[in-house]
Structures are given as C-alpha cells and as structure tokens.
C-alpha cells in the first residue's frame, strides 16, 4: 500500500507543472535548490565562528536570542509555499482504503517535505561545530532535538492555520510589532524567549517538552483531518458570500468604466490579487532602508530615485507586469467578444495611476526624513505614471503565465515571468531614471536631478497612445499562443 502511495507521490512530483519547464530553467532550479542547501550548510558551520568573532564570544547565546524570529519566519515561509496534503487526496476517498491510512499518509507527507529537511542542513552542522568547540555532548543533543521538534511543531501548526488568513495576518502583525519594538529598543521580546531556548541547552532533558508538543500537535492535526474528512467539511472548498456592487461612481470614466469595474472586482474578490495589494503596501516602507541610512551601500544620491520608484510603484509593478494574465481564466471569452483593446488597456492603466497617486499620498510620511526623500517619491511617482506604466504593460504582453486567481501561492513571483524581454525592460524602468537623476545631480544640483526625472516622466505621457497601439499589435499577433498557454493551468 505504502509503495503505491509513494509511487503516486513521485509521479505527482515529476509531472507537476513546475517541472514542465524547459531544460535550462530546470537546471537553474536544481542549482537554486542546491545553493540554498549549501548556504544553509555554510551558515550552519560558519555562523558559530562568525558570531564569535564579530559579535559575542558566546555564539549560542546570540543564536538563542534570535531563534524566536527564525521560527516565526519559518512558519510564514511554510504558510506561503508549502502545499497542504488535502489538495490531492480527493481521488483517494472513493477507493477501498482506510481513512486513517489516507490521513496519516497526507500528514506524514508534509513531514518529509523540503521545508522541514532544509533546517537539518543548518542545525546538524551547527550542533557538530558546538561539540567540536567543546560544548558538552548531552547539552547540545538536548538543544538540537528541541530545535528539530520545534521545526515539526511549526509544520503541524501550519496545517491548522493554512486555510485561515486571519491567523496569518495576525502573526505577520505580531512580528512587525515585535520587530519594531526591538529595533527602537522599547521592548525586547528576545529577553523572554532566549531563556527558553537556552533552557534546552542547560537542562537537556527539557527537550522532551517540545518533542511531546510536536507529538501532541501531530495527533491534533490527525484528529482534525480525520474528523473533517468529508466532502462537505474539511475537503469542501469555501464558498464566499457574494456582494453585488454596481460601482456607479465609476461611470464618470466613460467607456472604460466597464473594464475598470471588473478590474476592481477582480482585485477585491480574489486571493491572489489581494496578496498583490498587500505586497504593494509593503513596498511603501521599502524606502526606509534608503532614507534612514541604515544600509551604507544605498547612500549614493541616485539610490533615492531607485527607492522613490519602488515606494510609489509597488502596485504598478506587482499588478502591471501580469496584465493580461489576470484575465487568463476567461481569456477565450474576451477574445471572442467585441473587446476594444485600447479601453481594456486604458482601464488597467488608470488603475495603476490611481494606485500610484494613492501610495504617493500615503508615503508623505517620508517628509520626516527631509524634503529630498519625499521629493524622490513624488518624482518617482511621476516617472512611474509617465514611463513605467507603459513599460510594465508592454512587458506584460509577453508574459504568458496563467494566473490562478483563487490561490495566494506563487504571489511572490513566478519563474516563467522571468525572461530576457522583461529583463531588458527593467533598464528603462529603473536604470534610466537613476542615470538621468545622476546627470542632473552632479551637473548642477539635486533640484535639477529631480526636475529632469519628472520631465522625462511627463514626456513619457505623450507616448501613451503610441505604446498602446504597439501593445495592441502584440496582443493580436500573440493571441493564439497566449490562448494555448492560458489553457495549461496547473
């Protein structure tokens, strides 16, 4: 029986959509995974000596201090990327298998996933280094086992929270607050958690607690699944209560309002697009890295423009690059309807412009870091509206990745969306404004630098119709290929 299950899993793995990419990408992915493991290994071995030399003679103390964040990030990471076992369990329900067996298999499967295994690449070498450096074996063993047990606790917790967005955003909020309080030296949560982690080292027998906890969570996950193992319970897909919204206030946009209304509904009612909004919100704070001067390499004056473009353009980049993929699920409908491409594009364009203006207003808190900081954001916004909005739509026309709107996964980017054409398009998006600013800045003053970038943005606006007609041509010439590509969902 187990052999059959494993066979199924192997096929699911090798035949999954992410493996159906070309060889070059496959090699790249293998390299990526390999390097990630190598980094973990390197960190495991190197962390001890690095911390000993640079920070504190007692590396374990420092590690224990930050473990709380390590485990919280692990949970977030798992939440986003790890697939839940129930997903492909449905076809097994009708077969003559014991339910306990299927549930057990589903949960065990999560245990051997990459998301748990790669921790071993950090903790095992780190523990070995600890022993080599003269820490007593028993204590290290206790600490080590406790850590691995905590990794598995995370694994089972993830099974519970996976379908509950509220829990997730609460966790994110808590991290942000704790991190912020720590940064400003108001309240240090690590003071309370570090002793717990150290306790596993000092009293190795305490490792039993997390091990038991992991075991209990396993039992709970098992029970939770077993009880909800019905099509109308745990395996049912959630049905949203629909809200109808006529959005009459958008009628003032005239003929494009048809699409605009649809796009707003698209964003409001789908997980994936909500994720995009959340991400573009985070981008607003990206500038803090630059303007607080916390990272030295970013101190060059033209980096301001770089920051300004990202702060105001978070939505523009994360949404715009996937036009028209947002409509991939019903692309055949659009292609057989009397669609006016220009209005279709214009609706997306207006959406990006509105979002950019909106973020620029929110970002006014950058004034706190001096007028230059906010000027960079405003100028970045002008450049985004004038030039980058066209560029992302143009680049998007070449991306043929279908988007599964109902899933929040993969929101952090998709390897298929990464190709030479889109890479080339980042030059005018980011490098050009930085160069323009640098010319003005070094030739005369920062004011001239800002002015030049803003003027470039305004000039870009003049080319809107030209760019739209180019994109329209691309849409038409790529239509059949796009239709085929969008069909290959999952």
């Amino acid at each position: 029986m187990i052999k059959q299950f494993i066979n199924l899993e192997w096929k699911a793995f090798t035949r999954s959509a992410s493996f159906q990419v070309n060889l070059a990408l496959k090699i790249l992915m293998v390299f990526g995974a390999f390097f990630m493991l190598l980094y973990a290994l390197g960190a495991g071995i190197g962390a001890y000596y690095l911390i000993e030399e640079m920070v504190d003679p007692e590396p374990l103390k420092i590690i224990n201090q930050f473990l709380i964040f390590y485990f919280i990030f692990d949970l977030v990471f798992k939440y986003f990327l790890q697939k839940m076992p129930i997903v492909n369990i449905k076809p097994l329900l009708y077969l003559p298998l014991k339910k306990d067996q299927i549930v057990k298999f589903g949960i065990n499967k999560t245990m051997i996933s990459f998301f748990n295994i790669w921790h071993a690449f950090f903790f095992i070498p780190f523990s070995i280094v600890l022993i080599i450096e003269g820490h007593p074996f028993i204590n290290v063993l206790g600490w080590h086992l406790a850590m691995l047990a905590l990794v598995y606790c995370n694994n089972f917790i993830n099974i519970f929270v996976n379908s509950k967005d509220v829990v997730f955003f609460a966790v994110i909020g808590v991290i942000a607050i704790l991190g912020g309080l720590l940064y400003f030296n108001i309240f240090d949560v690590t003071q309370f958690t570090a002793p717990i982690f150290s306790a596993f080292y000092n009293q190795p027998y305490l490792a039993v607690i997390p091990i038991v906890l992991a075991f209990v969570l396993y039992k709970m996950a098992f029970k939770y699944f077993r009880e909800n193992f019905y099509l109308d319970a745990g395996l049912a897909k959630k049905v949203d209560i629909a809200e109808t919204d006529t959005m009459d206030y958008l009628n003032r946009f005239g003929s494009i309002s048809t699409f605009l209304k649809n796009d707003i509904k698209l964003i409001k009612r789908n997980k994936r697009s909500k994720m995009t909004i959340f991400m573009s919100f985070l981008f607003i704070f990206y500038g803090l890295l630059f303007f607080t001067g916390s990272i030295e390499v970013y101190d060059g004056p033209f980096w301001r423009i770089f920051a300004g473009i990202f702060v105001s353009g978070g939505f523009l980049f994360s949404f715009g690059q996937f036009v028209p993929s947002w409509d991939s699920a019903y692309y055949p409908l659009l292609m057989s309807q009397n669609i006016r491409y220009k209005e279709y594009l214009e609706s997306k364009w207006y959406l990006m412009v509105i979002a950019t203006v909106f973020t620029t207003i929110i970002a006014s808190f950058y004034l706190y870091f001096g007028w230059q900081a906010y000027a960079a954001v405003v100028v970045g916004a002008i450049y985004n509206i004038g030039v980058n909005s066209h560029m992302v739509l143009w680049g998007g026309a070449y991306i043929k990745t279908p988007i599964d709107l109902t899933s929040a996964k993969k929101a952090f980017g998709d390897k298929k969306s990464f190709n030479v054409k889109t890479l080339l398009l980042t030059i005018p998006k980011l490098v050009l404004p930085m160069v323009i600013y640098a010319i003005g800045h070094f030739a005369y003053s920062e004011v001239l630098g800002f002015a030049l970038v803003a003027i470039t943005g305004l000039i870009g606006l003049l080319f809107k119709n030209k760019v739209f007609s180019i994109i329209e041509k691309i849409y038409k010439s790529e239509k059949y290929k796009t239709l085929v590509a969008y069909k290959q969902n999952n």
Binding site: N262, K265, P332, M335, S336, Q337, N338, K487
Partner: protein
C-alpha cells in the same frame, strides 16, 4: 451565413479536422454530433478564431474569421467555463457582457425576465459568485449570456450536458424559438442524439475530423443516427 471551405487543422501531422465544404444558411438550427475527438469543439474554436486553421478558412456573414474581427459584434458563444468570469455574480456577468455588446442594464434586465423559469430561481440573487455555482447552473448562466445583445449567430458547445431534465426541455424551446422566429443561426453540438434531432433542422455527423453524414432532420433521422452510431460500436467490437 457561415461558409467553410477547405478547412483543416493539423497538430504535428495529426489531422484533427478536415472539412472541404460546409455551408450553413441564415436562420438554420444546425447540429453537430460525433464521438469524443471527432472535432466538434475544434470546429467551434476555429469559428471563434480561438485557434488558427492549418489550411482553408471560414466566412461568417462574408467576414473572413481568421483575418478580420468584424464577426464579433453579431456572433456569440458559450463553449466552456473559460467563458465565465468566476469572481462575478451572475448578474454582474450579464451586465458586463451586455456592456460589451452595447446593451444597457435595462435591456439586459428585460432579457433576463424572459428566462426566469429557465433559471429556476437558482441563478439570480443567490449571493454567490459564478465560480461557486454548480456546473449545471454555471452552464445556464453561460448560455443565457450568449443570448445577450441580439446576436445573429449563436454557438453552443454541448449545451445539454450537465443540465437537469426540466432545463433541457426549456432550452430546446429556446433554441427552436431563436432559429424559427428570430432568424438566428444556432450551432449546437451534442452527444445526445435525441436532443439534437428534436432541436436541429440539420444534423452533421463528424468522425475523426471528417463530415460523414449531412442530414435534413425528419422523423426517421433519430433511427438513422442510432443505427449509425451503434454500427460504429459494432465495427469497433469486430476490430477488437
């Protein structure tokens, strides 16, 4: 209305459709039957310019489908769920299609009231998005959306599949009505021989991409079709 000439579609030397000549006059209710893989959906996709023909072309009301887009205003279709926008409620979807086809809200509402009994109270005002409706109800919404905006050509792929008996009967009335009274050219494909013979004036049988029968419907047609398809089944058994 629809003239097909020398049409073929080939994937890697595998010809899935080859129609030398087929003419569908205006106002005809036209049925396409055939086993899986016979080429029904391929033909409809070619008609909607969703795939490119390998050779030949289709003319829809004198518009060359694969070259001009002028057939779009008077042609509508429901092929599968990729014609539905999952995150809209049925009403929003109807209004959206309506706006694309130059109909205001009142026009769409007027049309929808005619389909109250077709919807059977399960489509409108349900507080559900299209993606959460059952397959049958999704199909109902898709079919009705294809009727918005007084199209002259309506293409429905497998419209009877997944529908409950009451709705099937009601749909047959609607299709007959469209063709006979309103002069709409209706193209329907189906696996259900009884339904097509009930509805269509003309039935074409496709097999492995070729037209092998082209029948005017009369009382004997059903028998003939049944004999044909059971003959295919017999032939297949003999081959085995």
């Amino acid at each position: 209305m629809i003239i097909t000439s020398n049409l073929s579609k080939t994937y890697n030397s595998n010809t899935v459709l080859k129609i030398d000549s087929l003419e569908i006059p205006k106002g005809q209710s036209f049925g396409l039957v055939g086993n899986n893989g016979a080429g029904k959906t391929t033909y409809f996709s070619l008609l909607l310019d969703l795939i490119q023909p390998t050779t030949g072309h289709i003319k829809n009301n004198n518009v060359l489908v694969n070259e001009s887009e002028d057939w779009k205003p008077f042609t509508s279709a429901f092929i599968d769920e990729t014609f539905l926008i999952g995150y809209l409620t049925p009403e929003e979807y109807f209004y959206f299609i309506g706006e694309l086809r130059g109909q205001n809200k009142a026009d769409v509402d007027a049309l929808l009231t005619q389909f109250q009994d077709f919807f059977h109270g399960e489509i409108l005002n349900q507080k559900k998005y299209l993606r959460d409706l059952s397959k049958g109800n999704q199909k109902k919404a898709g079919i009705v959306a294809a009727l918005i905006g007084n199209p002259e050509v309506i293409i429905l792929d497998e419209p009877f599949a997944n529908l409950d008996p009451t709705t099937q009967i009601r749909l047959k009335e609607i299709i007959r009505d469209l063709a006979h009274k309103k002069g709409v050219t209706v193209l329907v494909s189906s696996h259900d021989l009884l339904h097509v013979t009930d509805v269509c004036e003309r039935i074409v049988v496709l097999e492995k991409g070729h037209v092998i029968k082209d029948l005017e419907t009369n009382p004997a047609t059903l028998k003939e079709l049944e004999a044909h398809f059971s003959g295919t089944a017999m032939a297949m058994q003999e081959e085995e």
